[in-house]
Symmetry: C2
Subunit: 199 residues, 2 copies
């Protein structure tokens, strides 16, 4: 129904996560409506990000040079490493302003069903990094999902063998702030009980 160039744009937009066909259509018509400068700025930003962004050689976070801005920041505590699954997980942690250390991005989570083995993730590089530097603590901040938990367990065991002096911690599970007990699922509520603290 659309002219081929429009249909091509709709198809490409619909490949983005959470963008269905209707939304893609709406976005395409928006792009058609705005001036060429604004539309091309988006096209250029997509090209530029693919050309200029790679992975940090230390932590495998996204970086516009050999090292990411966090690894380059002298004020960040080298003795504290937070392990996350994806580069996108760094952003919400940084937003809390609670974490003064550095990161290690695994590039996914262990999932034998999907064929993701320890060798597919940056786990060996984490071990090397921990043994090489003077790491005091590794915070396992993989997702509280089956694959994330399995990954955390795997790494915790690996670190216990290789670097027994290093403290290994996991992010607390419990009730989200502002949530309602009535609507909490039983696993989360169970975790909240198990992790209860003296006030």
């Amino acid at each position: 129904m659309n002219a081929p160039p429009i249909q091509r744009l709709v198809t490409e937009l619909a490949r983005l996560p959470g963008i269905g066909n209707r939304t893609a259509q709406r976005l395409a018509f928006h792009i058609l409506r705005v001036d060429a400068e604004e539309a091309n700025a988006l096209a250029d930003a997509i090209r530029e990000v693919k050309e200029r962004i790679g992975l940090c050689e230390v932590c495998f976070n996204l970086a516009d040079g050999p090292r990411c801005r966090i690894c380059l920041d002298e004020r960040r505590d080298c003795g504290l490493i937070c392990v996350v699954e994806e580069p996108g997980d760094v952003v919400p942690i940084e937003r809390t302003h609670e974490f003064p250390g550095r990161y290690h991005v695994l590039g996914g989570a262990l999932s034998p069903i999907d064929g993701v083995d320890p060798d597919d993730l940056k786990i060996a590089q984490l071990y090397a990094r921990v043994l090489d530097g003077d790491t005091r603590e590794v915070v396992l901040a993989t997702n509280p999902t089956t694959t994330g938990e399995a990954t955390a367990l795997h790494i915790a065991e690996g670190l216990r063998e290789r670097a027994p002096g290093v403290t290994v911690t996991r992010l607390a599970s419990g009730l989200p702030v502002g949530s309602d007990l009535e609507y909490a699922d039983e696993v989360t509520l169970g975790r909240a009980f198990a992790g209860r603290r003296a006030v």
Copy 2:
């Protein structure tokens, strides 16, 4: 917090309608994750659409040549013109497969507050088209909003003066199919009563 190329992409994505900062962030990380080919296909589609798509010289719908596919389609009834506000409005009407005629895209709706006068829309071109050809009916399919209604009224009066032989109709207002009477707003319900039909 993001490297400049990533932040630039997030900013550009967040300019799209209905895409907030969080979603833009998520889309940017998706684009970073997929291979360069897929990302560049999107960038190219955006550029191409701005280069190759213009307005149809007859109906001002989007077209990849001087005339749009509907105006080029000999099977479409020339005597029946459906007037819509934006090119995006053609798509849902085409999807109904109920309309055998042609379109006229105004490029917006009359809105004195926003400085949109009759001269800013393709209204004069509609009159010329109606007077020039053998138009039997003009269906006013502007949105059922204040500005859309005002635009429909303005055009209806203009056509009555200029082409008194041409039937001018307006899309029916009423209850959406599958909706619940209990949740209908009073204006819509009022319209549904006013437009009630014998069964």
